[in-house]
Each structure stands twice: as structure tokens, then as C-alpha cells.
Amino acid sequence: MTAQLPETASRKYDLKFARWVRDNVYGGGKMNMCMQCGTCSGSCPNGVEMDVGPRKLFMMVRAGMKDEVLRSSTLWECTSCYRCVVRCPRGVPVTYIVQGLAAVAAREGYAPKIENASFARAFWWSANTFGKTDERLVTMKYFFSFGFLEGIRKSLANLKIALGMVKAGRMHIGMPHKIRDSKGLQAMLKKAQEIEAREG
């Protein structure tokens, strides 16, 4: 046996990103249990709208494809139905990991124009400001995140639905519902964000 082994492949797997996901994304510690069976992708109701299914997304994490993972539409087309979570034969909390990666993508600036990230920003603004989701204001803030004209266009397109809701008494007119101790809640959330930044 004198023949030299071939050179290591020029494009080798880079585990730095996978390790980072393992240590920093909620549920990521179980991602190494994934055996690439594809049960998650096969179970996904909205897979047709995704660049790649969760199975391939996880393989891309292992391959160190950080930018491709964090730019994938997969993070934003997940409807949080948890079918993959209950079906995964290895107990990987797939939905939680996808949501966690979406949070990383939003925080690291990978999703400035992604609808779902804009919606999430509007949603969190309402939760933080009022302590409650004001469906009207979240929707309007979301619509107008696309610019003034697009905001008007989207509002008009949904006017019939909104009027139907008002008529049915399911959308109120007037000030937002607000918790009494919104100051206390804001202090808690601020502290929670400080702790998360501190402990990673």
C-alpha cells in the first residue's frame, strides 16, 4: 500500500456554523440527532412555498452554508403547525429550530424586506407597547412597512374583510386594549432582553 490517499476535498464541511447553531439556537442542541430521513419535509404543509425543506436546511447548516440558510425562505414560510415536531423519529424539535433561525436572520439583518419579519416587528411592537396584540394596529403597521402607497393599496384590498369584522363586532373602533401595568411588563421584557444578550 504505497498509493497516496487523495487530497482532502477542497470543499469540506465547515462545522463552525453548525456548532454555533447547536449552542445558540433554541432546540439546536438536538439537531445532531437528525438522520436526514426527510419525514419533516414530507410532512410540511407549506413545503411547496419553501426554497428547501427542513431536512435540506439542516444539512445546509451542517455544511456551514450560513448565508444560504439565513436567507432561505424556509424560515419564513413555516406556519408553526408542529407536524414535523411530532413526527420526527429522532425527537428533533424542528419547528422550534426553524423559528430560532428566523430570529437569528431577523437580528443579523438577513431579512430587511421579508414580510414575516416586518409582521413580527409590528407584532412585537404591539405586545411591548400595550401588553396585547391589537390586530388592527399590527396589520396596519405591517401594511405600511411596505411604504405609503403599498400600505394604502393593501389596506384597500382588505377593507371588505375589515368592515365585515367591524360589523360582526370582532374589530373595535377606538383606543387599543392595553394592560394596566404596561410599564411593569416593559421593564420585565427589557430585563429579559438584557439577560439574553448577557448570556447569549
Partner: protein, 301 residues
Amino acid sequence: MSEKKTYTYYPGCSSEATGMHLDASFRAVMPELEREIVDIDDWNCCGASVGLIVGGVLPQTVLNGRNLAKAQEKENRDVITACAACYLNTHGNNEKIKQSAKLRATVNEALEAGGLSYTDDLQVHHAMEVLVNDIGMDKIKARSTNPLKGLKVAGWVGCQTVRPFAATDEGGNYDTFEDPEFLDDITEACGAEATEFTPKTNCCGGSVAVMKPEKTLHLMKTILDAAVESGADVVSTPCPLCQTNLEMYQDAINKKYGTDFNIPVVFPTQLMAVAFGLDAKKGAALHQNTIKAGKLEKMAK
């Protein structure tokens, strides 16, 4: 199982908006089944499916920690919610906190910034779990003095009511993830007929349907097709977002696919309210459905 029991109720944001008719009918039927409910004082949003994307995982847990801290002020050890997303977040985070002293300490460090702490071991229940495990179908059937004879109901459970907790010990093991039977059981306990409806745990698109309906209309069309094919007069779903999505997007689906869907989508608590002989408006809140459930309304006393 007949003694009166009190639950601490977490109504959630939809109870004041698109899911008001779930809240109203839930509040109406629980006392009829000898269960009292007492609201959490000054409850807040659970964060739903998108809160953590911007807020972060820990802040989302703290949102729920605050509700649990407020719930422990009541005497009852059992918390109940009728909203799928509220249940997912409150129950999920409660179990995480109960299982990790470290997380509890971290959550309490944040809660103390607002003068609260969560030290108890409460149990969070979905309303459907309580109907199955605590109240039971026999009691619902016995209370149905106005059985919904001839009403055909497609039972559409949706996702987060059963996933990922229904078939776990912590979730009360009240049904399966894939083929739950409780919703059809409620339909039949009310004297109505459950139709053969296969996509019972299909997803409507959830919040993605709210922000980008064009991406998820295909999901709702599958559900509507199956409901109509099963011969249903109404679809019954326990989830407030499922109800609103499937109701408000029928026009858009008809435009996109050239269909003519106009099928009412009601809550099982609305079916129960009518079957219990309660008022169509005050008890069942049927006036708040945008697609009127005419056949059900006519059955109301």
C-alpha cells in the same frame, strides 16, 4: 367527576377581537357544565408564533411567565385557555419553567423588574383537554337538551390545539396528534352528525395566512373542498385563528380558484351553546360569525 371545579382563565388577545365569539360561547357553556372560570387579572399577550422572532426566546418566555405569576394569585392550581396559540405558549413555557430551576431563576430575575415572581407549579390546560379529561362527553350529552338533529358538522381540529402537546403526559394525553377524535365526539354529544372529514389536523397557514394569504390559500382550499365533499352544513374548529382565516378568506379563494365556497365556520362551544338551549346571540354569539350559520341559528331556542 361531578363536583364543581374552578379554573383560572386566560382569555388571550383574540378574545377581545377576532375570537370574541369563542370567548363568549366558552364563558356561556362552562357554568352549564358545572365549571367556574375566573380570569387572570391584567393578563398579557402570549407572543403567539412570531413574537420570539423579534423579541427573543427568553422575552417570549417572560411574557408567559408574567401571566403565570398573575395566575398564581388565584386559589386554583389549574389554568385554562381556549386559544390554540395561547395554550401552546403558556403550557409550553410553563413546563419549561417547571422542569428547569435555572430557567425559573432567570425568568424570575426578569419578572422582578416589574415586581412579580412565579414560584408555583400551576398546570395549564387547553379547553378541549378539560372537556375530554375533566368534564367528559357524557356530561355534554346529558346537558344537550336541544340536540342538533340533522346538522352535519366537519370537525377541523387544526394544528396547535393538539400539536405538540395533546399526546403527552404534561398535555393530559387527551387525544392523538394526527387523528384526534374529540371534536367529532363533541359534535355527536351535541346531537349533531360528524361527517367523514379527512384533513382534520391540516394547517390553515396560521399567521402566514394573515400576512401573505396568497401563499396559503391552497391550504385552506383543501380544507374547504373536503368539508363540502363530506356534505357538512358547517365546519367546527376549536382554534380562533383557524376560524377567522377559514371564514374571511373564502372570498379570496373563490376569486383565485373559481369556486363558490360559502360555508359557515363555528366553534364547538357555539354548537354546545345551542345544544344546551342557550340564546343564539347571548350564549352562542352566532351573530359574530361573518358567514352566518343559518341552519344552526334556526335550531337555537
